[in-house]
Amino acid sequence: MMRIGTLVTGLPVLLSVPVAAAQAPDFAREIAPILARNCSGCHGAAQQMSGLRLDDGVAALRGGYSGAVIVPGNASGSALMARVTSQKENFRMPPAGPRLDEAAVAKLRAWIDAGAVWPASAAKAGGAKGSNHWAFQPVRKPAVPAMGAEWGRNPIDAFVLAKLAEAGLKPSGEAPRAVQLRRVTLDLTGLPPTPEETAAFLADSSPGAYQRVVDRLLRSPHYGERWARHWLDLARYADSDGFEKDQPRPWAWRYRQWLIEALNRGQSFDQFTIDQIAGDLLPNATLDQRIATGFHRNTLLNREAGVARAEDRFEILVNRANTIATTWLGLTAGCAQCHDHKYDPITQRDYYSLMAVMNRTIDDEIDAPVEGEFGPWLRTQADFLAKRREILNKHRIPELEAEWEVKMRQAILNPGKDVEWDFAVTACRAMLDNADKLLLMDRDRRPERLARRITAQFLSSAGPDIPRDKEKQDRVKKARGELTELEGAFPRLSQAMVVQDDPTVPPAYIAIRGDYKRQGLTVEPLPPAFLPAMKTTGEPARLAFARWLVARENPLTARVIMNRVWQEMFGRGLVRTSEDFGTQGERPSHPELLDWLAAEFMDGGWSLKEMQKLMVMSAAYRQSSAARPDAAAKDADNALLARQSRLRLAAENIRDSALAASGLLSRTVGGRSIYPPQPAGVAELGYGSRKWVESAGAERYRRGLYVHFQRTTPHPQLMNFDAPDSTLACSRRRNSNTPLQALNLLNDPVFFEAAQALAVRVLRESPAGFAPRLNRAFALTVARPPSARESERMARLFDQQLGILAGDAGAVPQLMPVEVEGVARVEAAAWAALCRVLLNLDEFITRE
């Protein structure tokens, strides 16, 4: 559809059918049948394509997303007439079937010219489309089914057992205790238990032993790391912009840091939500609350110089709307970007209303010191600023920058006059956020931090003139080098990427067919109309919306979140399509259980830890995961939970487990992203062939969630093991099983080093002798002793390996680069080969 403005001016009066003078047609007898026959299939009660409804007077006169289509008294100015009379195939209405005959056109024209009177008696009941779909009904807390004494530990089990009984199935027995410990430790912290933790648990037969473990794990600082990674999937977190330039985001980690801390301190989920959606708008917002808005900043940003900034901004808002819809509401709203959702009641108006929530924002960076940074910074700041000024003055940068700014402003205000400066402006807009605004701002009124951004931009790209003047070029180059050195020598404050309110942004509008250039009606920031209304409290809309997300009457958020936690604990959600609670998603396997969990979650103060504890304490969770051939016939997907599920570990946790088993793992929580070894040539695949500079020391051995995620060239170990691409909110990871994963675990230097370190550790920590050493190696990797057959097989491998090395002495120091006291080098090398096998076991990378 075209915009009305274009359409009216673009089309001449088309037909010369004589209009019956003055005689207005009778609506009910002559007009309504035309509309009913030709229009209301697509623009009627059942659907309103492009937001237009032509079977109801109020709605018809209001028009569609592009505005009014009937202008009473002015048929030739009415889009409706232009459409039904058009000669253009893809433009004329109705789009299929015979066109309106001349008589019908004449009647419509006469009716509109006579004022388009639509008698009230012909009006239909309007209003938003309701829905009977289960997920949109209020959450009520169902009664817990009665349960016998033989099985079950808490209400979860009562719901599970009831469903199993309906299907004539029985639950599985408890998993071996060592398996239970490894399972719950991996699920709550993403790390395997240490052999000492396993031994202590196995030795503790007192009641409450398991619960004490659970409480310990929920208090562990690694809890926040494990659940932060899950949330980062939804937040489409990455350490770079994405798209061609894919600039690193050196401060993205500050949001991750906040996230880990918020989860570790058990922040209630409602406040957690409000802080991320609109923390900056809270009265007396704390630094943490502002950092939390970094959630929105994880969108991709296209800094390719030729990109229209308005378009990229639109795409960013689309991404933010989609992310909120998936993360909290379990809705696949993206379809409604271009048209009303085909299956769910979400309309295009709903979609852009949701987008409007994020519209009046501006991206910014703020000082966000972590512990220990502020004091040193404060003490040295005056000195730093003085030295900085000194450098700039020494090279007379202010005068060069002033000249540059004048030229830049001229080019911004009068494009097309000078090709070189036009290019400089285009390039600058791509790299400097809000460039026009900053450059056109009165120089004297520019805050210091913004002025510094401009100076930095000038020094990195000084326009076309300076490179032609060697003396000036040298000054810029020297200043740049000296400033970089100075900044490196002084304490800095960590920065956080945040959003803030910006009332100067024009109102949001419906983009016709999802094209940002085709502006339809303006929309207010509101939740979808088919869900309970948002309370208008006088607060800014984004804050009111955040509160609405976690309002007791919102039917979706609590269900969606509980379902996802369940998915992480059981391998599949009660609603398997955890990203889609709409009509195209699957229905819940246990609707009452889901509602009970959602109600319990909300009524109990939105505590994630409490709900997670409830789940891992249940008998359903603690079942064996071994196959149940008897149940498979009735329930092939194990939706009814006649057993637990075996789950391959997430990419990051595979790395974590190998490092933990080998003793290499650095357990430091939080902080910057790291650069573990990655094969040469990977980073170079992207634009600009960026170099990957490996982290040194303990940094190299930090957990997988800290690995720098470069969007166009992500670390291969993460991608091989199905980490999301961080483009859209990822609600559930898939688990593939590929030969590249095998090669990765076998041959990646990170895992080979882990195998070697594991061997050294085993040899140092265990009493001499094959059996105790093998026991130790099994305890460290799979938290259990080997079976007799496994011992026998590994003993054979050990002998084979010694035989192979006897004929290949050169391989010995390569397999085992260090001496282990009291152990022959060749034996130690054979142990490295054995440990490599253990780190490749399916069981090692699986949570049983």
Binding site: L685, T713, N744, V837
Partner: protein, 470 residues
């Protein structure tokens, strides 16, 4: 211990035997059968002419009016700005509509029986004129690199959807059981799209492109770590299999069986990868034909030869990327350089495929994400021959050969100045639909359900261009 002793040892090895209820060596082979192996070869909607695709992606946007689409009409306007009416609808990344016209200094001549015109920069490609179907009427919606590349490969300008190669192996699997089904070869600089040009998007990662590398391991992590000999690797894998088998017997999860199969495939890749890259069996004549020993063309020539060898070994989709043709400035110098690198190997690939009888079943596609403007871009007014061209999405050229495509013809026409398509317009989605058609797919039915919706490569667009098909 020598190899014979080792083999004797391993033959006595079956400590679990088949009685343990685990899956033995036979069952392991079966795992690669269609049910469990997502890469098993399978049929499309119908039998396609093409079994493999070599997509020669010329990143950055080669200049069509200096290579494929002669525009003598530009001479008249050379050095002048065009009237507003010509340039009103242009989407320009860098230059303004008032930029001066740049006529091409290239000489075009007709080639082959078909008489298709090619520029003097690509004589070797021109010598294949009768096998080439040249499309002069391509257009795209994106006028910046990454969105353009995404549109070309995924049908959408936003990151996140599966790429053409991923869709292909998702649909057809692979004929090769020891090489990746979708392989990626690169030369020159990095590309704007990076890994997003061969990502599996929301399809399972099994279908993502595997980069084969010019230096180091041909496939990531392919080589054993230092000190791990072939014997050590095999001994370790045998033990690993037995332990996994033991665990499979205990917990009965098919994922374990599938993982065991993956390890065996990985092991075969370890020998197939180096064998693929070993050119010692290629004749001197073949190496010279490609220009493998020529300093300028070596990396690209090597990739072209690898592509042919992969086609022979059943690899389904080969993405061969060369960057970059993004000649905003110094067009004459930079374009010549890229042509010197790529022209001979490109033609050699076509000729070599043809003489081996592989061209009929191999679809070769050549082109970039968009074309370049008839107007010039100048970033340094004081440098001689600084002129280049900006991005031009409205009209550009690509070519296809083999795989059931009718060679020796030109599809489409642009206006006298090369601004717009005036005959047989062809969009990126039409190209995708046609490629899928040649592989045996109705592009509207090759779908994958994600986030509540059926997605396809061509989004909601695309029509097969019947004229192109033999």
């Amino acid at each position: 211990m020598n190899v014979r002793q080792y083999l004797e040892l391993t033959n006595r090895r079956r400590f679990l035997g088949r009685v343990a209820g685990g899956i033995g060596a036979m069952a392991l082979g079966d795992l690669l059968a269609a049910d469990t192996n997502p890469l098993a070869a399978r049929k499309g909607h119908f039998t396609g002419k093409a079994k493999s695709v070599i997509f020669m992606f010329m990143e950055g946007g080669p200049s069509q009016m200096d290579l494929f689409d002669p525009k003598p009409g530009l001479q008249k306007w050379h050095g002048q700005a065009l009237p507003d009416s010509f340039t009103r609808d242009l989407k320009l990344a860098f230059i303004k509509p008032s930029a001066a016209v740049l006529a091409s200094p290239r000489v075009f001549k007709p080639h082959g029986q078909s008489g298709t015109q090619f520029s003097d920069f690509i004589p070797h490609t021109a010598s294949c004129a009768d096998d080439i179907c040249l499309v002069r009427s391509m257009s795209t919606e994106a006028f910046n690199h990454h969105p353009g590349q995404l549109l070309l490969f995924t049908g959408s300008t936003q990151i996140g959807r599966p790429t053409m190669g991923a869709w292909t192996v998702y649909g057809l699997g692979s004929e090769s059981s020891n090489l990746p089904g979708f392989a990626v070869l690169t030369s020159g600089a990095g590309t704007s799209g990076g890994a997003t040009n061969f990502s599996s998007g929301f399809l399972p990662s099994t279908f993502q492109g595997t980069p084969l590398r010019g230096s180091g391991d041909p496939i990531l992590y392919l080589a054993n770590p230092p000190g791990v000999s072939g014997l050590t690797q095999r001994a370790g894998l045998d033990a690993l299999r037995d332990l996994n088998e033991e665990h499979h017997a205990a917990v009965g999860d098919m994922e374990i069986a599938s993982r065991m199969a993956s390890y065996e495939l990985a092991y075969r890749m370890q020998s197939a990868g180096p064998e693929l890259a070993d050119f010692s069996g290629e004749s001197r004549e073949t190496l010279d034909l490609y220009g493998v020993n020529d300093e300028t063309s070596r990396p690209f020539a090597t990739n072209c030869l690898l592509a042919r060898r992969m086609v022979e070994r059943g690899v389904r989709f080969i993405l061969l990327m060369h960057a970059s043709w993004d000649d905003h400035v110094q067009l004459n110098r930079k374009l010549k350089r890229n042509c010197d690198i790529t022209d001979r190997p490109t033609a050699a690939l076509l000729k070599d495929l043809k003489r081996r009888g592989l061209l009929d079943s191999t679809l070769v596609v050549w082109g970039g994400e968009f074309g370049r403007t008839p107007m010039q871009e100048v970033r340094n007014t004081q440098e001689a021959d600084n002129a280049g061209r900006d991005h031009h999405p409205n009209a550009y050229s690509m070519w296809l050969a083999g795989g059931g495509i009718k060679g020796g013809q030109v599809i489409g026409k642009t206006d006298d100045l090369g601004f717009n398509v005036v005959e047989d317009p062809m969009t990126v989605h039409d190209l995708q639909a046609t490629i899928l058609n040649q592989l045996g797919f109705d592009h509207t039915r090759l779908t994958y359900r994600h986030m509540g919706r059926d997605f396809r490569l061509t989004d909601v667009h695309g029509e097969v261009v019947r004229k192109m098909i033999a």
